[in-house]
């Protein structure tokens, strides 16, 4: 359950890695920006949660394209590590833009109150169920896009072999912008889905980022099905850890999982292939 929602930003992270070959740590602030974009659409615009998620996708995606074009793309020739450092700096800068506008307070979405559903002995919150559906729809849409559209095929081609894709006339810059839009958009959706359950503040994205990395690394950095498998693994492991550990350590589970997988199977469960 928690793992399904986690899979959405993890796919974003791993997709950007697959095409652009660097870990984009600015994902955390984009998740936050998406969450706040959805929040404005939901509270000020009066949209229901599922429609606000679309706004979250668009806002985070656009910010992702802008910030990448202005900040990260000029740095990519300097190497993956320099770009990753710049991404951390960018993350802090963007996070503080959100803080400047909205302050540090926790904010809740405007949602109708619903009674929990009772299925046998298990209680399910309708909102959680809706989040699950939204996450599944987002992932299905992405898979259809990658598998059947021309642009989706171009993205896979660049991830697989940038030189060959270039020879075949695929515009790498365009694909780069596109993967940023989709990847950061998914991050925004993830940020909002996580916020729907609880509340949002400028650190919303940062708090889950460790689990997102863990999902991507455990599944195999750069592999989209890997991110899904990784997210489900991390989600289940985090829930199971509650049996033995204090709830505060949920995110530490991700870190332990990273160390564990890197030691035993460095390429992740599904390896590094992009799809």
């Amino acid at each position: 359950m928690a793992g399904t929602v986690l899979a959405v930003p993890a796919i974003g992270f791993t997709a950007i890695y697959a095409v652009l070959r660097f870990p984009n740590f600015a994902l955390a602030s984009h998740a936050t920006i998406g969450a706040f974009g959805g929040y404005v659409a939901n509270t000020a615009g009066g949209l229901p949660a599922w429609a606000a998620v679309a706004v979250a996708f668009a806002v985070a995606g656009l910010v992702g394209v802008l910030s990448d074009t202005l900040v990260l793309r000029p740095l990519r020739p300097a190497g993956a590590i320099t770009t990753a450092i710049a991404a951390v700096a960018l993350n802090i800068a963007l996070e503080n833009v959100v803080r400047f506008v909205f302050g540090n307070d926790h904010r809740g979405y405007d949602l109708p109150l619903q009674r929990d559903w009772q299925v046998a002995a298990i209680r399910v919150g309708p909102q959680q169920f809706q989040n699950l559906l939204i996450a599944l729809v987002a992932m299905a849409a992405l898979f259809l896009f990658l598998a059947f559209t021309r642009t989706g095929k171009a993205m896979r081609a660049v991830a697989d072999n940038p030189t060959l894709a270039n020879v075949k006339g695929v515009d790498a810059d365009r694909v780069g912008r596109l993967v940023n839009f989709v990847g950061m958009g998914l991050a925004g959706v993830g940020g909002m889905l996580l916020g729907l359950d609880t509340s949002i503040d400028p650190l919303t994205g940062f708090r889950v980022i460790l689990s997102v990395f863990a999902a991507a690394v455990v599944g195999g950095l750069g592999s989209i099905p890997g991110a899904v498998v990784g997210a489900l693994t991390i989600g289940v492991a985090e829930e199971l850890s509650l049996v033995a550990l204090a709830p505060a350590y949920r995110t530490a589970v991700g870190f332990v999982a990273i160390l564990f997988v890197l030691t035993l199977r460095p390429r992740g469960i599904l390896g590094e292939r992009a799809y």
């Binding site: 890695y17 951390v88 302050g103 460790l210 990395f213 204090a246 505060a248 995110t251 870190f255 890197l262």
Partner: protein, 290 residues
């Protein structure tokens, strides 16, 4: 303020060894810094160890943590190390916030002893401490300059520039990388321990990821690969931070949280600007003659 420049200088020197010389990245600087601060604080407050022993323990244990990090990612590209170190710093903060029996949680540990604290006036204490930190910075600087000019430093640069060639030349690349990472982590831990004894109080909130950005900014502004650059960069950084404090004081009609946001934004933005337009820093690296 100069004392803080010393802490950042130590961190930038430590970072320079792994990033500037060996080309490995540590995005969890603050985690090692915090680890060192807590080790020394616990040793002196709970176990009554003398301060030098606490600082020594902090250096040694942090170096050990660095060995584990470096070994875990030894066969992988640098991006994995970036993720693991970033994760490490978050886990340190989690543990510090939640193992209340050990670290007093978010309340933090207070009353960490400082050398001659209470026996001299606060001003004299600050001066004494500045001298102590300066000694550490000079010692680290001297040590790293020795490393830079030594065959060891030459191999590290070779690994940074082309790992395969270094391996073909018969250098045990992994061993070199792990050693460099351990020494660097040790320096970061020492800086953290000194910080704790100066402030007399450590809490998880003191160790936000922003500190990592401070250290990276100090090093890149001063000049990656050059130890003088690290020290100069730390001085510049403190000057810059103080001037943003001054400048944001002039902005009218902002709430305190907005002022803080503007300052943090400026720090992040300035690192991006330096990386973009002055990647060599003020003092670009000059390779010493063999």
């Amino acid at each position: 303020m100069l004392t803080f420049a010393g802490f950042y200088g130590l961190m930038a020197l430590g970072l320079n060894l792994v990033w500037g010389m060996a080309g490995m990245i540590n995005l969890g600087l603050v985690g090692f810094f915090a680890f060192g601060a807590y080790v020394s604080a616990l040793a002196t407050v709970n176990m009554g160890a003398p301060i030098p022993a606490g600082v020594a323990a902090a250096s040694a244990l942090t170096a050990g943590a660095g060995v584990v990090m470096a070994l875990t990612t030894r066969n992988l590209r640098g991006d994995y190390l970036a993720i693991v170190t970033l994760g490490f710093s978050e886990v340190v903060r989690l543990v510090a916030s939640n193992e209340i029996w050990l670290t007093k949680g978010t309340d933090g540990i207070s009353g960490i002893p400082g050398p001659w604290r209470g026996r001299v006036t606060p001003e004299t204490f600050n001066l004494i401490y500045l001298a102590i930190v300066a000694v550490f910075v000079v010692a680290a600087f001297w040590l790293l300059e020795r490393v830079r000019h030594s065959p060891f430093g030459r191999v590290l640069r070779a690994i940074r520039d082309d790992e395969q060639i270094a391996a073909v030349a018969g250098k045990p690349v992994v061993a070199f990388k792990v050693q460099a990472f351990a020494v660097s982590a040790g320096i970061l831990g020492t800086a953290g321990a000194l910080y704790g004894h100066y402030i007399s109080y450590v809490a998880p909130d003191s160790f936000a990821p922003l500190i990592t950005i401070y250290a990276v900014l100090a090093l890149t502004a001063g000049g990656t690969g050059d130890n003088r650059g690290a020290v100069v960069g730390a001085l510049l950084l403190v000057f810059f931070m103080e001037s943003t404090r001054f400048a944001t004081g002039w902005l009218p009609g902002l709430r305190p949280v907005q002022v803080a946001a503007v300052r943090e934004f400026l720090i992040g933005a300035s690192l991006v600007v330096v990386l973009r337009w002055r990647p060599g820093g003020l003092i670009p690296e000059r390779i010493p003659r063999a």
